[in-house]
Symmetry: C2
Subunit: 450 residues, 2 copies
């Protein structure tokens, strides 16, 4: 009996590494005997592929397939490369169709085709069907395993069907009800089935107000629908409205987690799916592109300021306020784009139209700009004895707030329209844009007013 979640300590990891070095099968086997496969998976991410394989090969085929299903796709790709087709086939045979298809998608095409040819016939046809779909649509998320009952069946027939499916070890919460042409009609929750007289027919008791998705619906939309209607599983239908699969909430949780991770990376200016403990080279490569763009922007700024060398030589203090202008522009840009990304990600509201949105953004920027410029006007008048410069700085600041807010609002909308993730318009992108914009506005103001 195991109740609390397993805690992976550094001590245990070190002891385990030692056992691995000594190929101490007895220690490894006994220390993993009662551990949940999900915990073994976390443990394995600490070792290299050959070490992991040594461990996994000591475990039962069931546990092996569970572990391989749980590995994160990057790790899994490396790990499975040390496996032969003959070793992989029995493992894949134990997986649900959606997990099997995901893993086959990650393998080299030749290996994947050899394995498919050797799979049990049911799983084989299911997997071949699933591999047709793009991984970002409902068809690519769904599993083929489901409980299906004809509307004309009795409860007894339903229970027989459950008995047949139960051998596969699959988990399910409802029976999907279809007509004689396999078209989806509704669902029958297991608890209703338990409580109903065995001779009742499905058509007399099933729920017909259910929500389904077509195979081509995007994964992010599936997430929104399942969240909105609080569903733990959703049936997937083809264009003829025939039931072809189902998506469960755990798949959706994975999609949400990946989306959050992708957004965080875009907002941080990281261009590859990378983690702190990935290789040095990968970390360097993931960061360089945005740094180079920033450098390019910085060089442009330097050239641009060069045009105003005379003014700067005359009034050195002009340079003092470049950081103030740029930082505020960057902050306003990030805030505006952050809020727009937010409402693009949670589309649970009626789009008020571009004009309303810009007008609202303008009003907020106008008020904030006014407050900030007055503060800057006051403090520069107090601390720097150049009244003209105080006016220039606070006026330019006001304009920068307005323009950066506009750019921060419009950029994610454009990027979204072009089909990219709007979160790209946050972090370094918006900062670099706002920096150049701020500088231009500031020096134009200098030129006009000085």
């Amino acid at each position: 009996m195991e109740f609390a979640a397993f805690e992976l300590t550094k001590e245990f990891r070190d002891r385990f590494q030692q056992a691995l070095n000594e190929r101490d099968k007895a220690f490894i086997y006994s220390s993993l005997e009662d551990v949940n496969p999900a915990d073994i998976t976390s443990l394995l991410s600490e070792f290299d592929s050959n070490e992991s394989k040594f461990v996994v090969d000591l475990l039962s085929l069931q546990v092996r397939s569970r572990i391989i299903k749980d590995l994160d796709p990057d790790t899994r790709k490396n790990f499975l490369s040390v496996y032969s087709v003959d070793e992989l086939t029995p493992i894949v045979n134990l997986l649900d169709s959606d997990d099997a298809a995901d893993i086959l998608n990650e393998l080299p095409i030749k290996t994947s085709e050899e394995i498919i040819a050797l799979l049990d016939s049911d799983l084989k046809s299911q997997v071949i069907d699933l591999l047709r779909y793009d991984e970002n649509v409902a068809g690519g998320l769904m599993a083929k395993e489901l409980l299906k009952a004809q509307a004309s069946w009795t409860m007894v027939e339903c229970i027989d069907e459950i008995r047949k499916q139960a051998e596969s070890g699959m988990k399910f919460y409802s029976v999907w009800v279809v007509d004689e042409n396999d078209r989806l009609l509704g669902s029958l929750p297991l608890q209703k089935l338990i409580l109903t007289d065995p001779n009742t027919r499905v058509k007399d008791i099933y729920d017909d107000d259910i929500v389904s998705v077509e195979t081509y619906i995007e994964d992010s939309e599936v997430v929104e629908i399942m969240k909105k209607y609080d569903l733990e599983s959703i049936p997937v239908v083809n264009v003829q409205h025939q039931l072809v699969g189902r998506i469960t909430i755990d798949d959706v949780v994975d999609v949400i987690t990946e989306q959050a991770e992708e957004e965080r990376q875009l907002m941080s200016g990281i261009t590859e799916d990378v983690e702190e403990d990935d290789s040095l080279w990968r970390n360097v490569r993931a960061r360089l592109p945005w740094l180079l763009i920033g450098i390019f922007g910085g060089m442009l700024s330097a050239r641009f300021m060069g045009f105003f060398a005379q003014e700067l030589a005359k009034v050195t203090a002009i340079a003092f306020f470049v950081p103030l202008i740029q930082a505020t522009g960057g902050n306003v840009g990030i805030q505006s784009s952050g809020l727009v990304v937010q409402s693009l990600v949670n589309p649970n509201y009626v789009d008020e139209g571009l004009m309303n949105r810009l007008l609202k953004g303008f009003s907020v920027a106008f008020l904030n700009g006014l407050v900030l410029s007055l503060i800057v006007l006051g403090s520069t008048l107090l601390f720097f004895d150049n009244n003209m410069l105080s006016i220039i700085v606070s006026f330019a600041l006001f304009c920068v707030v307005l323009f950066s807010s506009f750019v921060g609002t419009i950029t994610p909308l454009i990027i979204n329209k072009l089909g990219f993730n709007p979160a790209l318009a946050s972090g370094p992108f918006i900062t670099t844009t706002s920096d150049l914009l701020g500088l231009t506005i500031y020096f134009l103001t200098v030129q006009i007013l000085i």
Copy 2:
């Protein structure tokens, strides 16, 4: 029968608004008759509280309670303020204990206590129990409604229990198995119950390898555990290991969504839970604090550069590279903190210790710093005819990359240790810090080398 998700168009919204203005009950009633309550909820977020109440009062008590449960907490707080205790009590009576407790928590204490006094006795004691917990721990997330069976029971007794609970209309997927002292032993999936001979005893077939959480476990940890073990529901136990509630995956999805939203706001430098379509004043207020901090940083920068007025007057070109230095510092800081936040949020790895982490960050920064400085050295030598300045800028840039990487790595770790959300260390916070740091390093280099 309703299959596709309901689409809320601007046309329908406008027509609906007109019907509301005319208090056209017939139109409102007929247009909402077959609509899923979740869709009515989205529609209502477009209208004010009194209009919404007019619509909701036309609907059945079941639909009303479903809508009120689905509203987002901010909207709900306003909406419920137009309701009397007598109107609210029957609605709350239809809710699950966790939703009832959430709503009562949002109401003014006096109203909430009056409603609790009037609730059905079962729900009343459940709600009173739940209100004891903080909303960010397992006890605050859980619901009291669950199916509980003694290990000594037969399947027939279990089915009787399910029959009793079924009247409450609650959804469930497993029966939790307890001993005679209510201590959790394991679970019995509904499908196993369907397939087992009615005279079998629970103790002979239940699953004992289940994971549970204690009431005081933090919600983010509950999320990690349910994700890791792929659970659709998890039992909650007290310190005596007695079963006190259960958390379902849809609650966890809500927690994940809220966490992502909070992180996005922190990274965008927004200090209040605000959305684009919230009031103007709220939008202004949510953005001002970070803008003011940025202004303060900018004024500090201006004062600081003032100390180098002589150098600047002599070599104006020094000022040209301030944006380059600051932008790069900001970008490096955001990238480093982004990756640290990432691994703090996904704690699915062994902590390698602070030194290893800093060493890795240092190596990445060293390589990136080298590449960037060489590029800047080359291009400044080419485009600006001041060799000494080229050396100063590229050397300072190298140092800025190293220091900003250090600050970006250490800051989220410190903030996390202090018990705040590490994502706070992204966006404006890290940009402002890096700006000041970059400027200091740059001008120190100027002073030493010029």
